[in-house]
């Protein structure tokens, strides 16, 4: 049955054809879609922070790029996905507010996107497409039938990766 599975902030979900995975209102967070085109099994993560080794609280591994993505891939493999076929598409990492002197706190979107790229590289997963940066929010949806990653914004239009 086709289902629309919601992924909250600091969370990830996996699913299979013909469902879709959606995450609403990404700002500085990054949405990572992993997809195996043969089994049509995929996962969507909504990470908040780049690095669990620099945080005080690491109770929720889905919050961080470095701890979330390996877990999600594991769950996909349990459903039957093959790691060698899994590719990634990523979106988000915006800077919502602009200040004259940008502190590290404000640059977190950029750092999130950088960290996601690095983690995926370490996991040996190829990034097929990305839509990151800017100063606007995004809602992202991974269609597990086609592997299309749809990105909706309020006034920057809609696109498919």
């Amino acid at each position: 049955m086709s289902e629309l599975i919601k992924v909250g902030m600091a969370d990830y979900k996996v699913g299979r054809n013909p469902s879709s995975l959606i995450s609403y209102g990404l700002g500085s967070c990054v949405g990572i879609a992993l997809y195996d085109p043969v089994t049509k099994i995929g996962g969507l993560a909504h990470i908040m922070l780049p690095d669990s080794t620099q945080a005080r609280s690491t109770e929720n591994p889905a919050k961080f790029a470095d701890t979330c993505l390996p877990l999600m891939l594991d769950d996909m493999q349990k459903l039957g996905a093959s790691k060698s076929r899994v590719c990634a598409k990523i979106a988000g990492g915006a800077q919502m507010f602009t200040f004259a002197n940008v502190t590290d706190i404000m640059r977190v979107g950029e750092r999130n996107a950088e960290s996601v790229r690095l983690v995926l590289k370490k996991m040996d997963i190829k990034i097929l497409a990305e839509d990151t940066g800017g100063n606007y929010g995004r809602t992202v949806e991974l269609n597990l039938v086609t592997g299309m990653f749809r990105i909706k914004t309020i006034d920057k239009g809609e696109k498919e990766l």
């Binding site: 909250g8 609403y24 990404l26 500085s28 919502m96 507010f97």
Partner: protein
């Protein structure tokens, strides 16, 4: 659970609620004078909730809102976020600019007006916090964004996410007598600031 916010006692929550009450009261009075309308204010809610649930407080992560964000400097640094649903933001600037017809877009002047409103409200709120804590707390220049609530809230939720998985939300809702303005006011202390505030208002364990 080692999170600071999960260890707050009833007394401490009540004290924070009272600070929120006076702060929001100041802000509501200021807003009422700016737009020359009577403003009703809800009793502040103090809630500790999972980070992911915070966008639901304002109606869900994908609704469009205007957000004015300021940093707070001083002995207890933190962030202030004032969120208005899109219609409220337009109502506010239209009232302020003396327009009778509802606007569809915001021009530079309107944005500047919203920033200034955020500035005044934050100042009024910080006055109360300064009064209770005897700290000098100063707001930064405000920044404005019109976007999805989840995207705007992510800015403060990410800061909280570095410390834990729960947010202490001191939240007040404003409304005018007519349909008018609704707004949400969030005060988010930086890591360590919550303890400093609790000590200063005399309810540290």
């Amino acid at each position: 659970m080692s999170e600071e916010v999960l260890k707050l006692t009833e007394l401490q929550l009540d004290a924070l609620k009272e600070v929120g009450n006076v702060g929001a009261g100041n802000a509501a009075t200021a807003l009422s004078q700016i737009i020359n309308r009577k403003i009703d204010m809800s009793v502040p809610k103090v809630a500790i909730m999972p980070l992911g649930d915070v966008p639901d407080v304002v109606g869900g992560p994908d609704i469009m809102v205007a957000g004015v964000y300021l940093r707070v400097f001083g002995p207890a640094p933190g962030s202030i976020l004032f969120l208005l649903p899109r219609e409220s933001a337009f109502y506010l600037v239209d009232t302020l600019m003396g327009r009778n017809e509802a606007s569809e877009t915001l021009d530079a002047m309107d944005e500047s007006a919203l920033l200034e409103i955020g500035n005044i409200l934050a100042g009024a709120y910080l006055n109360a916090l300064s009064y209770f804590t005897k700290f000098t707390l100063l707001p930064s220049i405000p920044a404005l964004a019109m976007d999805m609530a989840g995207a705007i809230l992510s800015v403060i939720l990410i800061q909280l996410g570095q410390m834990g998985d729960h947010a202490l939300v001191i939240e007040t809702e404003f409304s005018t007598e007519a349909d008018g303005v609704k707004g949400h006011f969030f005060l988010i202390p930086d890591p360590g600031s919550l303890g400093t505030i609790l000590t200063a208002i005399g309810v540290k364990e």
